[in-house]
Symmetry: C2
Subunit: 431 residues, 2 copies
């Protein structure tokens, strides 16, 4: 009576999803709205930086050869014939022993080939005319930032797929990109199933719980860089649920359902996938929590059937839905960043399945220490509140002692990584 499903490895399941690459779509938006979006085109320098020879300091622009032979005992004198603020243009070409007072960032006048800082000039007036006196030779090119010395016109500055942070926004502005080509956010539909669910505005009723998964997943979808639309809750009725899911599929790129994927009397999702003609990629994964996570494809669309259990739902989204969303944002590193951390908590009970334990990272002098985010029962929603990573405890015949080094998947990281490595091997313990 109970259907027997054969679990597959997490990495096999991830690969199966990633084979169905979502199409990446580009759109053009205002620079004002571009924060935290990903570039759909590389940024090239539209001009050289600096775009003209400029002074990096306040000082006097002169011709270096006029200082030839200058010394403490034999100073040279320059008449100050012009004064250029940043953004102003030189009005005079310098003649022999003439100087221009120049401000930081201003254009070097014709006839000058170096800048002398205020501090080493003696300024004086003679017959109402400003002069400076110099007691040393100044080399040609001194204190001049040459046109193109930082960036040449046409230089590749930032790769496609990069997340726009304050520095990149500054680059976009510098090169006049007031409109920016970015990845369009895919639209993720969210549907909850389960007769036990109340909408959050409803008062609690005996035997029922409020629907928290839909709100949690909405937040995870946003963190993953996509848009969401919440389509409400379905009661555990096959016909009406099928109709709703079929119509929602026309509107979204990805459909996420929560609940109904197990093998219980009220779990309708398997029957709905069949009725839709969707190809089920897998419906059992060798992991805890979330072993019943199901993913199906239908044409270009993907259907994620996540568990109704909050922790399983959370983990299922991060492992399977987030990377495929990231590929549609041109991110060349779509997977969760994986690194190693020292466990602060013991998990002594062995489990044949790979466990993904919600945790948070604490830095201790440059070393990452990972703490369990709370009671690790899969149905404790409160343990998710402080989660910033998933500890990976590969399945096997033994538990893990505090002090062991384990893999962690970082959830708040935006850098990601290019490939998804296997979880199968047991890690050596280090103390």
């Amino acid at each position: 009576m109970v259907e027997i499903r054969k679990p597959i490895f997490v990495e096999t399941a991830v690969s199966a999803v990633m084979e169905h690459q979502l199409k990446a779509v580009s759109e053009v938006i205002s620079i004002h709205a571009c924060d935290n979006r990903r570039l759909s085109e590389p940024i090239y320098a539209t001009n050289a930086i600096p775009s003209f020879d400029k002074s990096p300091y306040d000082g006097f622009a002169i011709k270096s050869s006029d200082t030839n032979g200058a010394s403490k005992n034999c100073p040279v004198t320059f008449q100050v014939v012009d004064h250029i603020g940043a953004g102003e243009l030189p009005t005079k070409k310098l003649q022999v022993n003439e100087a221009t007072r120049i401000m930081t960032g201003a254009k070097i006048p014709e006839g000058a080939d170096c800048v002398v800082m205020f501090e080493i000039c003696h300024e004086f007036e003679q017959d109402g005319q400003p002069f400076i006196r110099l007691k040393r030779e100044i080399p040609e090119g001194d204190n001049i930032m040459k046109e193109g010395s930082e960036i040449q016109k046409g230089d590749l500055l930032v790769e496609k797929g990069t997340l726009i942070n304050p520095g990149i926004k500054a680059l976009l502005a510098t090169f006049g990109y007031h409109h920016v080509s970015v990845a369009k956010k895919p639209l993720v539909g969210i549907i909850s199933t389960g007769t036990e669910l109340l909408e959050i505005e409803e008062p609690l009723q005996p035997g029922k719980i409020r629907n928290s998964n839909a709100y949690m997943i909405a937040s995870q979808v946003k963190r993953a860089g996509a848009e969401y639309r919440y389509y409400g809750q379905l009661a555990d009725k096959l016909e009406s649920s099928f109709g709703k899911i079929k119509s929602v599929l026309d509107e979204v790129d990805i459909l996420i359902t929560t609940g109904g994927v197990s093998v219980g009397d009220y779990d309708l999702m398997p029957a709905i996938y069949e009725k839709l003609g969707a190809e089920v990629l897998f419906n059992k994964v060798a992991m805890r929590p979330g072993s019943v996570t199901t993913v199906a494809s239908m044409g270009s669309k993907l259907l994620f059937g996540l568990s109704g259990n909050p922790s399983a739902c959370y983990v299922g989204f991060e492992l399977f839905a987030r990377p495929i969303i990231q590929t549609s944002l041109y991110n060349p590193n779509p997977f969760l960043k994986r690194t190693k951390a020292i466990m602060a908590t013991s998990f002594l009970k062995a489990n044949p399945f790979t466990r993904f334990v919600r945790g948070y990272i604490h830095f201790e002098k440059g070393t990452m220490v990972v703490h369990s985010a709370g009671m690790d029962k899969s149905n404790v929603v409160s343990s998710l509140a402080h989660t910033t990573c998933l500890m990976v405890l590969p399945g096997g015949s033994r538990g893990y002692k505090a002090g062991s080094v384990v893999d962690v998947l970082l959830l708040e990281d935006t850098e990601g990584q290019q490939s998804f490595e296997a979880f199968r091997k047991l890690k050596k313990e280090e103390s």
Copy 2:
């Protein structure tokens, strides 16, 4: 002629700003809009979890005492009298040797005190009636999640000031918070000064550069959790600049200006602070870049005069403006998270001032390695594009070799830290 300013330590400057705490203001928003906002009130449990005794598995609810004496040779038989799905309510109180088929999450019926999983029951029919047979004794309370066993009504779940992530959004939904009290974002006005600046839509002109700082700061303001309003550019004219700044101050909580804070001929901000009657907290900090960073207060408002140099502007915002914005969001950990990392790059030239070098973090087997984000000239905007942290190189008589352990301030972190420690001491090198 050139005003001499006395530099103060970075930590003294930070303290001076933090004494002028901005008032935190609360507002109530929809749960749908609450991602990445900070709670202005703690979250308490509005009901117990579970809110009723429930079954964690699919199985049969029975009375444990009915299994007394059951064994392989002496099985006991129960008649299945009811069937409860999740969200449904029991319709029957169990009598002796009666069982209720019960689904995961459903309410335990009256008369039952344990749940037996499908796997250990033998199901059969007799005269068209369903029965189960059990070959072992079941202890009282087995497989029952008791009301309140996870969370008691009134429990404090999350502290005020916490950033709302997917887990916290799930908690809010679980407890029916469809409206959420969050910190109102302070409004930060941004004004650029400098006759050399072009708006980004304008074609490049000789002697001029496009205004990138305003866009960069706007993005930093958003990352810091505040709203911004860009008020455009001011030419280096005292009267008109003063009038504009005075009127903008009526509209914003914080005013950030870029440029004009140095001691050059065109640096008008010192005169404007004086004319406004603002109290200048400091105008010279022992740091590179950004030594001319100026902060002034006027009543409850703060004025940040950041350097026109992009790197100095960036660092000045993160060190001085971000923490005070975070306090107005109720964040008890308003300062940039500080940890240690191994330098991948050498900085052999000594500098008497503490340097803040833009870098990015790379994890190598749980150890943080920090790389320089690019050429570290203070005027190279492209070096900011990949920045995720600031390396702190305390001032002194020597440089830093690759392999040294240095402090890093994490810019993409949202956890922060409670206090700002001194930067003065030279760190020991480790290789």
